[in-house]
Symmetry: C2
Subunit: 392 residues, 2 copies
């Protein structure tokens, strides 16, 4: 996998710079961990808008078996991508501990698919994609929800020949997408693994998301979303990332790593002139680095689109509430939370468990780091997932 570079985003090349094919070989030649894309048609959107033609980027690992019972869908988080695991190239994936040959989700036994979220910038149709007239969507890209993406992903499943998933799994926003799959297509999801997210985005999660979206919209280079070909809102996107990243880490993690130390030889209590000239604290430098990394790989409009989609997350909406929505699911659920998570609190996973039919335990990932434990410590779930979900 090649990380999408800035020039591709700035130039609004739809689908980014990774290798793409239009065909979708569900069987036949394996192309593990290679980004491909397929058109899934027009999409009427939940919030009232529409997209005349939608393309979804995806990667696959392994081969669909003859009776189509070994397909697994893995859903990425907010700024994640489809590179769940290493494939033909060298680059490791973001759930490497969980997915691959011999891993709990064994790609020699399962046919694993990961789709880029609708609205994203890693190959699926998003704000930087070209509209039918060949102009980047920009400010005209419509409001998409988690459900819209799941409906598009269902068409991708059709094209891949997957009638039902053995399992759909995801963490953080990926967990929201997994849960929506189980609620929208009860017959198509046999196991549903939801990590580090609850049944809906809470007031606090919405509030933090609003701050991030405003940080971008208020950047003078944002220009309402029509910045392609010109300067991009890197400062606003960087600020959004800082706000988000603080929430992804626990308070003790930040204090243990950085405390009040200055960055290198910089002195935060020295500024002969104004405060903007003082040396940085280590934690400021760290967040500067996190911001710089994201703006080099992510499109600001996509950040807004996917953040807005995440705010919309509410599996009970329009379905008579949470319990009634979940009563119609047929999947076996596997839930997990991170014990130090202060963005998606473990209590929110517990609440989801209580609303589900039957007795559903919530597995606990023990991590000091906070929410990001769903990435760094996912290996802790490997044994339980082998026993309960991936038994081939």
């Amino acid at each position: 996998m090649t990380i999408l570079d800035r020039s591709a985003i700035d130039g609004a090349a739809p689908g980014g710079s990774r290798e793409r094919t239009t065909a979708a070989p569900a069987s036949g030649t394996r192309q593990d961990g290679v980004v491909r894309a397929t058109a899934v048609g027009a999409l009427q959107l939940e919030a009232g808008g529409a997209l005349p033609e939608v393309e979804l980027a995806y990667e696959t690992w392994g081969t669909l078996n003859a009776d189509g019972t070994n397909a697994v869908l893995i859903q990425h988080a907010l700024t994640g991508d489809t590179h769940v695991a290493q494939g033909e190239g060298d680059e490791p994936g973001w759930w490497e501990a969980l997915v691959g040959p011999g891993k709990p989700v064994d790609t020699e036994k399962y046919f694993v698919v990961a789709a880029n979220m609708l609205g994203g910038c890693y190959g699926s149709t998003g704000p930087s994609s070209l509209d039918p007239e060949g102009v980047p969507w920009g400010s005209r890209f419509p409001f998409v929800t988690i459900r819209d993406s799941v409906r598009a992903e269902a068409r991708l499943a059709d094209r891949l020949g997957v009638r039902a998933w053995h399992a759909v799994l995801g963490g953080s926003m990926g967990g929201a997408r997994a849960l929506e799959w189980a609620a929208t297509y009860p017959e198509r999801v046999r196991h549903c693994v939801v990590v580090a997210i609850g049944a809906y985005s809470t007031a606090e999660q919405i509030a933090l998301a609003q701050a991030q979206v405003l940080a971008i919209r208020q950047d003078p280079h944002f220009n309402g979303g029509d910045y392609y070909g010109g300067p991009t809102p890197v400062a606003g996107l960087g600020l959004a990332r800082r706000i988000a990243h603080i929430s992804y880490r626990s308070e003790p993690e930040l204090n243990f790593r950085f405390g009040r130390r200055g960055q290198g030889a910089e002195n935060p209590i020295e500024a002969p002139g104004h405060a903007a000239e003082r040396g940085r604290y280590q934690v400021e430098s760290y967040l500067d680095h996190q911001a710089a990394k994201l703006v080099n790989r992510f499109d600001a409009n996509s950040y807004i689109a996917i953040t807005e989609a995440l705010m919309s997350h509410d599996v009970g909406r329009g379905r008579g509430g949470l319990v009634r929505a979940l009563a119609k699911t047929k999947a076996e659920f596997f839930l997990a939370s991170v014990n130090s998570d202060r963005l998606y609190f473990p209590e929110q996973s517990d609440e989801l468990a209580r609303a589900l039919p039957g007795e559903v335990p919530v597995h606990s990932i023990d991590a000091k780091i906070g929410h990001d434990g769903f990435l760094t410590e996912i290996g802790q779930l490997g044994g339980e997932l082998r026993r309960k979900v991936f038994t081939l």
Copy 2:
């Protein structure tokens, strides 16, 4: 008290629009709860800069007794002001439950003083003040620390005839200022009441502060701080306030009050065009309101100056560390934390208590609201403060 209005800030009238006198009648005619200001001379600053002349605004209640033993200094928080309690006017103060005739801090018995923080916009010298040439300081206002403000406040005490305070107290940043008083002037503080803050700003508090400062600095109207007389960075200041306000409230408080409800008839899942057109969630509208309120009463440069000062909070800095710094204090300490505070965690007050000489208990304010419990529930400390600190 009259809230400083925008035009005063925009026009950079030093000291704002409240009634001011240059005299400082510590005894004689009482003028309870009326803003006055006094010059305290030039100030060499901790970070290396200097201010050629400093003025501090303050309010007083009650009368200094003959032996000067009944003086109490109350320190405001980040965007707070000197109006701790009602005075001659109608407007209630922000610690009304604690301060006033017959209250725990009885203004018929104590001479209560509240000073506007150096760098503020409620009458003390700050970025919107005029420099000796009559030009607003703006981008040239130097970096000030909590300690700089405390040193200026000591000169105010001199002018008021206060050799030693019976008590210095404050919550949040006001608590940092109280603690610095006890460490800088051990002979001048007999009781020190520190509520809802620890011994230093932590990595997380610095991180959240950085995001707020960036939100303002990245506003195109900020212009490096030289925006007086032109459009002001209200969007940036509003975003800073949103980020801060989320941290001032607990997660359950936000969810209980707002959940996922839409604001009035607005529908957050309806937007025929792009997401910016959707209806707002209640919590978004609430934070919009908090932002609008602040930008109407606070100067963005002062927000940065005081936030930077709060980042500098570290009572052990340059004093051989926390324990050695506190070993030199002579005050009796009274500590309290808010049990739902997730910005200044109770553990940080506990750490401060452990570092203090002797056995110092930490009183707990029981509040669901979060950090802001130091304002809304301060009355819970009244009884203990009467028994231990305000015994006249």
